[in-house]
């Protein structure tokens, strides 16, 4: 035992330089990631800035109850979850399908062109994307309305109709990220042994059969891992885009947990209350992630940890 301890001490002393280097980013993590976690306790306190986090009196679960009992609780929860599930249902398979499609293109130059152009929108900012949506939705000269008018539809200001909020959000997300998110699958597909396809051809398999029985199974692990990670953020709807897209007319469909926290916390200064709402959100995310990971570990032997 003494030997092992001595060996460990020797190793630590040998790597002293590495620990000194490592100390800086670790300090960053402690300050910028763990101190806020410690600050979560204000969800259970009646936070008063002059008394500080420690000095403020405890309030128990008052703020959680206040949120659960509020008249808007069901609406906000529904908006958050439905937007996220909708985004996932369309946004998760889209890059997989695109990768399979690109993988079938034989002409190398066309293949490259499709790849390079599809991941370009990934580099645009949320502000730019939402601005484009708003310009395109203009009733008189917006791109969307000019396209729908070809089909004889009446002009609509899509940005100010609650019913269009979710489709606009989801499909612009697919438009922006599909190409970039496909890269990982394209790379996985490129690594598939060519002999597998040749052997299948000799057995008389069609192109479609090869996709179903070779291509898809060979990227299944990648799909599963990304899927678990996606489940873990089901309650996380990107604040940035929703906040920019929402307006007073669409608030009934567009108020989600993160925008609610921003308005009540940052703008109105209800720190404890909005922290409680945020904590409720984080905990559910974490539970979903752990659950998805557990199921995947048991059934597919693939897991994050």
């Amino acid at each position: 035992m003494g030997n092992r301890l001595r060996k460990t001490v020797r190793q630590i002393r040998r790597d002293a330089g590495l620990y000194i280097i490592l100390a800086v980013p670790v300090a960053w993590y402690l300050i910028f990631k763990y101190v806020p976690m410690y600050g979560l306790q204000i969800a259970f306190k009646k936070f008063n800035p002059t008394l500080g986090i420690i000095g403020s009196p405890w309030a128990g679960t008052t703020y959680f109850k206040q949120f659960f009992n509020s008249y808007y609780f069901a609406d906000i929860l529904w908006n958050t979850v439905s937007l996220s599930v909708f985004t996932m249902l369309i946004g998760f398979p889209a890059p997989i399908l695109l990768a399979l499609l690109i993988n079938e293109i034989k002409n190398t130059r066309f293949k490259k062109a499709v790849q390079n152009i599809t991941y370009m929108p990934n580099f645009l900012s949320v502000v730019v994307i939402v601005s484009m949506l708003s310009l395109f939705s203009n009733r008189d000269y917006g791109l969307f309305n000019r396209i729908t008018s070809v089909f004889g539809r009446e002009a609509v200001d899509f940005m100010s109709k609650p019913g269009y909020f979710q489709p606009l959000y989801v499909f612009s997300n697919v438009w922006q990220y599909m190409g970039f998110n496909a890269i990982i699958y394209i790379a996985a597909l490129a690594g598939v042994d060519a002999e597998l396809y040749e052997a299948a051809s000799i057995d008389g398999a069609s192109r479609m059969q090869k996709i179903l029985h070779i291509s898809i199974p060979s990227i299944m692990d990648t799909i599963l891992i990304l899927f678990i990670m996606r489940i873990g953020s089901i309650m996380t709807v990107g604040f940035e885009k929703v906040y920019l897209m929402q307006n007073n007319v669409t608030i009934s469909a567009s108020e989600v947990i993160s925008t609610f926290i921003y308005k009540n916390g940052i703008q109105k200064g209800q720190f404890s209350y909005s922290t409680a709402v945020g904590m409720f959100n984080s905990v559910i995310n974490f539970v979903l992630l752990a659950g998805a990971n557990f199921v995947s570990k048991k059934t597919a032997k693939t897991s994050l940890w």
Partner: protein, 293 residues
């Protein structure tokens, strides 16, 4: 045999058609904005412009460049992107390099501490209170520090160091009496150009495009990055001080609309320009990250 060939041919046709449709859906909005930005605002507002500029003019661009807010935002964003990327790179490598050494005692626990933050966080309000307590609220540090390290990028870098630097190199450098820092600077980094390119691109794009931290941490509009200025102009319609005082209301409205397309192009250009140069690297980056997420 002939039948197989025929069905193969139809399959190919279907593939190319579908790919062409995808390509158009992605490209048309981009081309439209580009065409509109170079067109006569009158024609844009009457819905005459589609994919080819009409009444070619640089009027809208001149207005963008004459706008002081946009200029200030552009300069600020250049600073935030340069300084922020540098800080992010240094911190990320300082974490990834030691953690990539297999014999480092306790590395599993430190990794756990880091990865946990990907799945759970204190959230918006506690972080906001921390920024105030640190005294960096409403200073440039509020944009440079809180978002400095991306755990995803850290894992990509760590995986790269683990797989691409042979451990014999470390051992021999160690025997020659090199310190950890010397080994990092003189041996590891020169061999890591690919990963440095990837990290630079990821961080630079993220910082250039961010607006959220500025929205909550910066009150002083002199410090605002370009994205906030853009939001004010594009989404909140703040174009009062456009230097168009002597023209009529209708003209004003028209120019306010016209400037939007060119502002989008101007703000996106820096990222789209560096993109072809680093493109082959970032595909590599995604692949490195995919080895172990």
């Amino acid at each position: 045999m002939k039948r197989v060939f025929r069905s193969d041919f139809t399959f190919d046709i279907a593939v190319y058609l579908l790919a062409a449709v995808v390509l158009l859906i992605i490209a048309i909005p981009l081309l439209f904005v580009l065409a509109a930005s170079f067109s006569d605002p009158d024609l844009v507002l009457r819905g005459k412009v589609l994919l080819i500029p009409k009444g070619l003019t640089l009027k809208a661009y001149t207005m963008v460049f004459e706008n002081e807010d946009i200029w200030r935002g552009f300069v600020n964003s250049c600073f935030y992107t340069a300084a922020g990327t540098a800080i992010s790179l240094v911190l990320t490598i300082m974490a990834a390099y030691p953690l990539s050494r297999p014999h480092l005692v306790g590395r599993r626990y430190i990794m756990l501490l880091i990865i946990f933050t990907m799945y759970f966080s204190g959230g918006m309000i506690p972080t906001f209170l921390l920024i105030q307590d640190l005294g960096i609220y409403n200073t440039v540090w509020a944009l440079l520090l809180p978002a400095a390290v991306s755990t995803y990028n850290l894992i990509v870098a760590k995986t790269f160091f683990e797989n691409s630097i042979p451990s014999e190199l470390y051992e021999s450098a160690k025997l020659d009496g090199g310190t950890s820092l010397q080994i990092l600077l003189k041996i590891v980094l020169p061999l890591s150009k690919a990963i440095l390119a990837v990290l630079t691109l990821y961080y630079a794009v993220a910082i250039w495009n961010a607006y959220f931290d500025a929205l909550i941490y910066l009150r002083n509009s002199d410090l605002h990055p370009l994205q906030i200025v853009l939001r004010n102009i594009l989404l909140l319609g703040q174009t009062e001080q456009m230097g168009t005082n002597d023209v009529g209301m209708a003209e004003k409205v028209k120019m306010a609309e016209a400037i939007k397309y060119s502002a989008i192009i101007v703000s996106s250009i820096p990222m789209l320009v560096i993109y072809p140069f680093v493109q082959k690297h970032f595909v590599k980056g995604v692949m490195i990250g995919a080895v172990k997420g």
